[in-house]
Symmetry: D3
Subunit: 61 residues, 6 copies
Protein backbone atom coordinates (compact mmCIF):
# COMPACT_ATOMS: atom_id res chain seq x y z
CA UNK A 1 0.00 0.00 0.00
CA UNK A 2 2.46 2.68 -1.10
CA UNK A 3 1.53 6.16 0.10
CA UNK A 4 3.15 8.93 -1.90
CA UNK A 5 3.41 12.55 -0.77
CA UNK A 6 4.75 15.26 -3.05
CA UNK A 7 5.52 18.80 -1.93
CA UNK A 8 6.23 21.11 -4.86
CA UNK A 9 6.02 24.72 -5.91
CA UNK A 10 2.55 25.82 -6.98
CA UNK A 11 1.84 26.53 -10.59
CA UNK A 12 1.25 23.24 -12.36
CA UNK A 13 -1.97 22.87 -14.35
CA UNK A 14 -4.65 20.29 -13.69
CA UNK A 15 -3.50 18.47 -16.82
CA UNK A 16 0.07 18.32 -15.52
CA UNK A 17 -1.10 16.94 -12.18
CA UNK A 18 -3.31 14.41 -13.92
CA UNK A 19 -0.38 13.13 -15.97
CA UNK A 20 1.94 13.23 -12.97
CA UNK A 21 -0.16 10.95 -10.76
CA UNK A 22 -0.83 8.63 -13.68
CA UNK A 23 2.84 8.19 -14.53
CA UNK A 24 4.03 7.97 -10.92
CA UNK A 25 1.44 5.30 -10.20
CA UNK A 26 2.55 3.34 -13.26
CA UNK A 27 6.18 3.61 -12.11
CA UNK A 28 5.32 2.22 -8.69
CA UNK A 29 3.07 -0.54 -9.99
CA UNK A 30 5.80 -1.65 -12.36
CA UNK A 31 8.66 -1.60 -9.88
CA UNK A 32 6.97 -2.46 -6.58
CA UNK A 33 4.73 -5.12 -8.13
CA UNK A 34 1.52 -3.93 -6.50
CA UNK A 35 -1.93 -3.28 -7.98
CA UNK A 36 -2.74 0.32 -9.03
CA UNK A 37 -5.53 0.51 -6.43
CA UNK A 38 -2.91 0.18 -3.70
CA UNK A 39 -1.22 3.44 -4.66
CA UNK A 40 -2.41 6.64 -3.00
CA UNK A 41 -0.86 10.00 -3.86
CA UNK A 42 -1.28 13.36 -2.18
CA UNK A 43 0.07 16.51 -3.81
CA UNK A 44 0.79 19.61 -1.78
CA UNK A 45 1.60 22.94 -3.36
CA UNK A 46 3.82 25.51 -1.74
CA UNK A 47 4.29 29.18 -2.59
CA UNK A 48 7.88 30.29 -3.26
CA UNK A 49 7.98 31.69 0.29
CA UNK A 50 7.68 28.16 1.63
CA UNK A 51 10.44 26.17 -0.01
CA UNK A 52 14.09 26.77 0.69
CA UNK A 53 17.38 25.30 -0.42
CA UNK A 54 20.77 26.11 1.05
CA UNK A 55 19.00 28.39 3.50
CA UNK A 56 17.46 30.61 0.84
CA UNK A 57 13.76 30.76 0.05
CA UNK A 58 12.74 30.07 -3.56
CA UNK A 59 11.10 33.50 -3.38
CA UNK A 60 14.51 35.12 -2.94
CA UNK A 61 16.38 33.36 -5.73
CA UNK B 1 4.77 12.21 22.10
CA UNK B 2 2.61 10.93 19.25
CA UNK B 3 2.51 13.32 16.29
CA UNK B 4 -0.47 12.75 14.03
CA UNK B 5 -0.76 14.11 10.50
CA UNK B 6 -3.95 13.75 8.49
CA UNK B 7 -4.25 14.61 4.80
CA UNK B 8 -7.85 14.58 3.62
CA UNK B 9 -10.16 16.12 1.06
CA UNK B 10 -11.39 19.57 1.96
CA UNK B 11 -14.98 20.11 2.96
CA UNK B 12 -15.36 19.11 6.59
CA UNK B 13 -16.90 21.65 8.95
CA UNK B 14 -15.21 23.11 12.00
CA UNK B 15 -17.49 20.99 14.15
CA UNK B 16 -16.42 17.84 12.32
CA UNK B 17 -12.74 18.70 12.76
CA UNK B 18 -13.31 19.49 16.43
CA UNK B 19 -14.87 16.08 17.00
CA UNK B 20 -12.26 14.34 14.88
CA UNK B 21 -9.26 15.58 16.87
CA UNK B 22 -11.08 14.92 20.13
CA UNK B 23 -11.88 11.32 19.27
CA UNK B 24 -8.51 10.55 17.66
CA UNK B 25 -6.72 11.89 20.72
CA UNK B 26 -8.90 9.75 22.98
CA UNK B 27 -8.13 6.69 20.83
CA UNK B 28 -4.39 7.30 21.13
CA UNK B 29 -4.46 8.06 24.85
CA UNK B 30 -6.40 4.87 25.49
CA UNK B 31 -4.26 2.57 23.35
CA UNK B 32 -0.79 4.13 23.61
CA UNK B 33 -1.13 4.91 27.31
CA UNK B 34 0.09 8.49 27.08
CA UNK B 35 -1.33 11.72 28.51
CA UNK B 36 -3.58 13.80 26.21
CA UNK B 37 -1.11 16.68 26.32
CA UNK B 38 1.41 14.49 24.51
CA UNK B 39 -0.78 14.18 21.42
CA UNK B 40 -0.34 16.75 18.65
CA UNK B 41 -2.47 16.61 15.51
CA UNK B 42 -2.13 18.54 12.28
CA UNK B 43 -4.87 18.41 9.66
CA UNK B 44 -4.17 19.25 6.04
CA UNK B 45 -6.91 19.68 3.49
CA UNK B 46 -6.46 18.88 -0.17
CA UNK B 47 -8.65 19.87 -3.13
CA UNK B 48 -9.85 16.99 -5.31
CA UNK B 49 -7.09 17.86 -7.78
CA UNK B 50 -4.52 16.86 -5.19
CA UNK B 51 -5.46 13.36 -4.09
CA UNK B 52 -5.20 10.36 -6.37
CA UNK B 53 -5.86 6.67 -6.12
CA UNK B 54 -4.97 4.09 -8.75
CA UNK B 55 -3.44 6.89 -10.79
CA UNK B 56 -6.66 8.90 -11.05
CA UNK B 57 -7.26 12.24 -9.32
CA UNK B 58 -10.30 12.46 -7.06
CA UNK B 59 -11.32 15.36 -9.31
CA UNK B 60 -11.68 12.96 -12.23
CA UNK B 61 -13.70 10.25 -10.54
CA UNK C 1 -9.45 9.36 1.38
CA UNK C 2 -7.92 10.35 4.71
CA UNK C 3 -4.24 9.42 5.03
CA UNK C 4 -3.05 9.27 8.62
CA UNK C 5 0.60 9.27 9.67
CA UNK C 6 1.63 8.76 13.27
CA UNK C 7 5.17 9.21 14.56
CA UNK C 8 5.58 7.93 18.11
CA UNK C 9 8.14 6.50 20.48
CA UNK C 10 8.79 2.80 19.99
CA UNK C 11 7.60 0.32 22.56
CA UNK C 12 3.91 -0.34 21.91
CA UNK C 13 2.84 -3.95 21.50
CA UNK C 14 1.19 -5.40 18.42
CA UNK C 15 -2.05 -5.53 20.36
CA UNK C 16 -1.80 -1.83 21.21
CA UNK C 17 -1.16 -0.94 17.57
CA UNK C 18 -4.05 -3.14 16.46
CA UNK C 19 -6.42 -1.33 18.80
CA UNK C 20 -4.99 2.04 17.92
CA UNK C 21 -5.62 1.78 14.18
CA UNK C 22 -9.05 0.31 14.80
CA UNK C 23 -10.15 3.14 17.08
CA UNK C 24 -8.58 5.92 15.03
CA UNK C 25 -10.29 4.61 11.90
CA UNK C 26 -13.62 4.51 13.72
CA UNK C 27 -13.08 8.09 14.91
CA UNK C 28 -12.43 9.28 11.36
CA UNK C 29 -15.29 7.32 9.81
CA UNK C 30 -17.67 8.75 12.39
CA UNK C 31 -16.59 12.38 12.11
CA UNK C 32 -15.47 12.67 8.47
CA UNK C 33 -18.37 10.57 7.16
CA UNK C 34 -16.25 8.36 4.92
CA UNK C 35 -16.19 4.58 4.49
CA UNK C 36 -13.58 2.63 6.54
CA UNK C 37 -11.88 1.45 3.33
CA UNK C 38 -10.96 5.06 2.59
CA UNK C 39 -8.81 5.37 5.70
CA UNK C 40 -5.12 4.47 5.42
CA UNK C 41 -2.83 4.68 8.45
CA UNK C 42 0.94 4.42 8.64
CA UNK C 43 2.68 4.14 12.00
CA UNK C 44 6.33 5.08 12.41
CA UNK C 45 8.26 4.32 15.54
CA UNK C 46 11.13 6.47 16.76
CA UNK C 47 13.79 5.68 19.36
CA UNK C 48 14.11 8.20 22.21
CA UNK C 49 17.11 9.68 20.41
CA UNK C 50 14.82 10.80 17.61
CA UNK C 51 12.05 12.78 19.25
CA UNK C 52 12.64 16.11 20.92
CA UNK C 53 10.54 18.68 22.70
CA UNK C 54 11.72 22.11 23.80
CA UNK C 55 15.08 21.31 22.21
CA UNK C 56 15.73 18.24 24.40
CA UNK C 57 15.73 14.68 23.11
CA UNK C 58 13.38 12.25 24.85
CA UNK C 59 16.54 10.21 25.50
CA UNK C 60 17.86 13.00 27.73
CA UNK C 61 14.77 13.63 29.82
CA UNK D 1 12.01 21.43 -6.09
CA UNK D 2 9.61 18.50 -5.76
CA UNK D 3 10.13 16.50 -2.58
CA UNK D 4 8.70 12.99 -2.76
CA UNK D 5 8.07 10.78 0.25
CA UNK D 6 6.98 7.17 -0.13
CA UNK D 7 5.85 4.96 2.74
CA UNK D 8 5.50 1.33 1.71
CA UNK D 9 5.67 -2.18 3.09
CA UNK D 10 9.19 -3.52 3.45
CA UNK D 11 10.43 -6.23 1.15
CA UNK D 12 11.48 -4.59 -2.11
CA UNK D 13 14.99 -5.33 -3.36
CA UNK D 14 17.68 -2.73 -3.95
CA UNK D 15 17.16 -3.19 -7.67
CA UNK D 16 13.44 -2.50 -7.33
CA UNK D 17 14.12 0.67 -5.34
CA UNK D 18 16.72 1.76 -7.87
CA UNK D 19 14.23 1.42 -10.71
CA UNK D 20 11.46 3.00 -8.68
CA UNK D 21 13.29 6.26 -7.95
CA UNK D 22 14.56 6.40 -11.54
CA UNK D 23 11.09 6.05 -13.05
CA UNK D 24 9.34 8.33 -10.55
CA UNK D 25 11.92 11.03 -11.17
CA UNK D 26 11.43 10.68 -14.91
CA UNK D 27 7.66 10.96 -14.44
CA UNK D 28 8.03 14.18 -12.44
CA UNK D 29 10.60 15.73 -14.76
CA UNK D 30 8.35 15.04 -17.72
CA UNK D 31 5.13 16.34 -16.20
CA UNK D 32 6.32 19.09 -13.85
CA UNK D 33 8.92 20.39 -16.30
CA UNK D 34 11.76 20.59 -13.80
CA UNK D 35 15.36 19.37 -14.02
CA UNK D 36 16.13 15.92 -12.55
CA UNK D 37 18.45 17.49 -9.97
CA UNK D 38 15.45 19.25 -8.43
CA UNK D 39 13.75 15.97 -7.51
CA UNK D 40 14.49 14.47 -4.09
CA UNK D 41 12.91 11.19 -3.01
CA UNK D 42 12.88 9.53 0.39
CA UNK D 43 11.64 5.96 0.77
CA UNK D 44 10.43 4.66 4.12
CA UNK D 45 9.71 1.00 4.73
CA UNK D 46 7.10 -0.19 7.18
CA UNK D 47 6.58 -3.67 8.63
CA UNK D 48 3.11 -5.13 8.19
CA UNK D 49 2.37 -4.14 11.79
CA UNK D 50 2.63 -0.48 10.79
CA UNK D 51 0.29 -0.05 7.86
CA UNK D 52 -3.47 -0.30 8.19
CA UNK D 53 -6.44 0.02 5.90
CA UNK D 54 -10.06 0.08 6.99
CA UNK D 55 -8.84 -0.18 10.58
CA UNK D 56 -7.01 -3.47 10.06
CA UNK D 57 -3.22 -3.86 10.12
CA UNK D 58 -1.63 -5.43 7.04
CA UNK D 59 -0.23 -7.98 9.51
CA UNK D 60 -3.76 -9.16 10.26
CA UNK D 61 -5.04 -9.50 6.73
CA UNK E 1 20.54 15.29 2.09
CA UNK E 2 18.45 16.41 5.06
CA UNK E 3 14.84 17.15 4.16
CA UNK E 4 13.09 19.37 6.69
CA UNK E 5 9.33 19.78 6.93
CA UNK E 6 7.76 22.30 9.28
CA UNK E 7 4.03 22.53 10.00
CA UNK E 8 3.13 25.64 11.95
CA UNK E 9 0.32 28.06 12.53
CA UNK E 10 -0.05 30.69 9.84
CA UNK E 11 0.84 34.27 10.55
CA UNK E 12 4.60 34.62 10.25
CA UNK E 13 5.94 37.33 7.93
CA UNK E 14 8.14 36.72 4.92
CA UNK E 15 11.05 38.17 6.89
CA UNK E 16 10.45 35.69 9.73
CA UNK E 17 10.35 32.77 7.31
CA UNK E 18 13.50 34.03 5.58
CA UNK E 19 15.36 34.12 8.88
CA UNK E 20 13.91 30.79 10.00
CA UNK E 21 15.13 28.80 7.00
CA UNK E 22 18.51 30.54 7.15
CA UNK E 23 19.06 29.72 10.80
CA UNK E 24 17.70 26.17 10.62
CA UNK E 25 19.95 25.44 7.65
CA UNK E 26 22.94 26.80 9.55
CA UNK E 27 22.03 24.61 12.54
CA UNK E 28 21.90 21.50 10.36
CA UNK E 29 25.07 22.29 8.43
CA UNK E 30 26.94 22.82 11.69
CA UNK E 31 25.70 19.70 13.46
CA UNK E 32 25.18 17.22 10.61
CA UNK E 33 28.34 18.28 8.79
CA UNK E 34 26.76 18.59 5.38
CA UNK E 35 26.96 21.35 2.77
CA UNK E 36 24.17 23.98 2.80
CA UNK E 37 23.08 22.93 -0.70
CA UNK E 38 22.10 19.54 0.72
CA UNK E 39 19.45 21.06 3.01
CA UNK E 40 15.92 21.41 1.65
CA UNK E 41 13.15 22.91 3.78
CA UNK E 42 9.43 23.04 3.17
CA UNK E 43 7.18 25.18 5.36
CA UNK E 44 3.47 24.45 5.65
CA UNK E 45 1.08 26.84 7.34
CA UNK E 46 -2.04 25.71 9.12
CA UNK E 47 -5.03 27.76 10.26
CA UNK E 48 -5.93 27.42 13.94
CA UNK E 49 -8.70 25.01 12.93
CA UNK E 50 -6.05 22.55 11.77
CA UNK E 51 -3.69 22.11 14.71
CA UNK E 52 -4.72 20.39 17.92
CA UNK E 53 -3.07 19.53 21.19
CA UNK E 54 -4.60 17.38 23.89
CA UNK E 55 -7.62 16.90 21.65
CA UNK E 56 -8.44 20.60 21.41
CA UNK E 57 -8.04 22.70 18.27
CA UNK E 58 -5.88 25.79 18.55
CA UNK E 59 -8.99 27.65 17.35
CA UNK E 60 -10.78 26.66 20.54
CA UNK E 61 -8.11 27.58 23.06
CA UNK F 1 3.07 24.70 17.78
CA UNK F 2 5.71 24.10 15.12
CA UNK F 3 6.17 20.42 14.25
CA UNK F 4 9.49 19.68 12.60
CA UNK F 5 10.29 16.48 10.69
CA UNK F 6 13.76 15.76 9.41
CA UNK F 7 14.61 12.86 7.10
CA UNK F 8 18.35 12.38 6.73
CA UNK F 9 20.96 9.74 6.01
CA UNK F 10 21.82 7.59 9.00
CA UNK F 11 25.18 7.95 10.66
CA UNK F 12 25.03 10.96 12.97
CA UNK F 13 26.02 10.41 16.60
CA UNK F 14 23.79 10.97 19.59
CA UNK F 15 25.80 14.09 20.38
CA UNK F 16 25.21 15.46 16.89
CA UNK F 17 21.46 14.83 17.16
CA UNK F 18 21.40 16.44 20.60
CA UNK F 19 23.03 19.57 19.26
CA UNK F 20 20.89 19.55 16.13
CA UNK F 21 17.54 19.59 17.94
CA UNK F 22 18.84 22.18 20.41
CA UNK F 23 19.97 24.58 17.70
CA UNK F 24 16.96 24.06 15.44
CA UNK F 25 14.63 24.71 18.35
CA UNK F 26 16.53 27.89 19.20
CA UNK F 27 16.27 28.99 15.56
CA UNK F 28 12.51 28.50 15.55
CA UNK F 29 11.95 30.12 18.92
CA UNK F 30 13.92 33.17 17.82
CA UNK F 31 12.27 33.60 14.44
CA UNK F 32 8.73 32.32 15.01
CA UNK F 33 8.44 33.94 18.45
CA UNK F 34 7.06 30.87 20.21
CA UNK F 35 8.05 29.23 23.49
CA UNK F 36 10.55 26.30 23.28
CA UNK F 37 7.92 23.93 24.70
CA UNK F 38 5.85 24.46 21.57
CA UNK F 39 8.53 22.99 19.30
CA UNK F 40 8.41 19.25 18.61
CA UNK F 41 11.02 17.59 16.39
CA UNK F 42 11.10 14.09 14.98
CA UNK F 43 14.24 12.78 13.28
CA UNK F 44 14.08 9.90 10.82
CA UNK F 45 17.17 8.17 9.54
CA UNK F 46 17.36 6.59 6.11
CA UNK F 47 19.93 4.16 4.73
CA UNK F 48 21.62 5.21 1.47
CA UNK F 49 19.25 2.88 -0.37
CA UNK F 50 16.35 5.10 0.65
CA UNK F 51 17.29 8.61 -0.44
CA UNK F 52 17.57 9.61 -4.06
CA UNK F 53 18.39 12.74 -5.97
CA UNK F 54 18.08 13.20 -9.72
CA UNK F 55 16.75 9.65 -9.89
CA UNK F 56 19.85 8.07 -8.38
CA UNK F 57 19.97 6.47 -4.93
CA UNK F 58 22.59 7.81 -2.52
CA UNK F 59 23.80 4.19 -2.39
CA UNK F 60 24.76 4.38 -6.05
CA UNK F 61 26.64 7.66 -6.04
Amino acid sequence: MPIVQIDMLEGRSLEQKREMVKKITAAIVETAKCPPEAVTIVLREAPTQHIAKAGILAADR
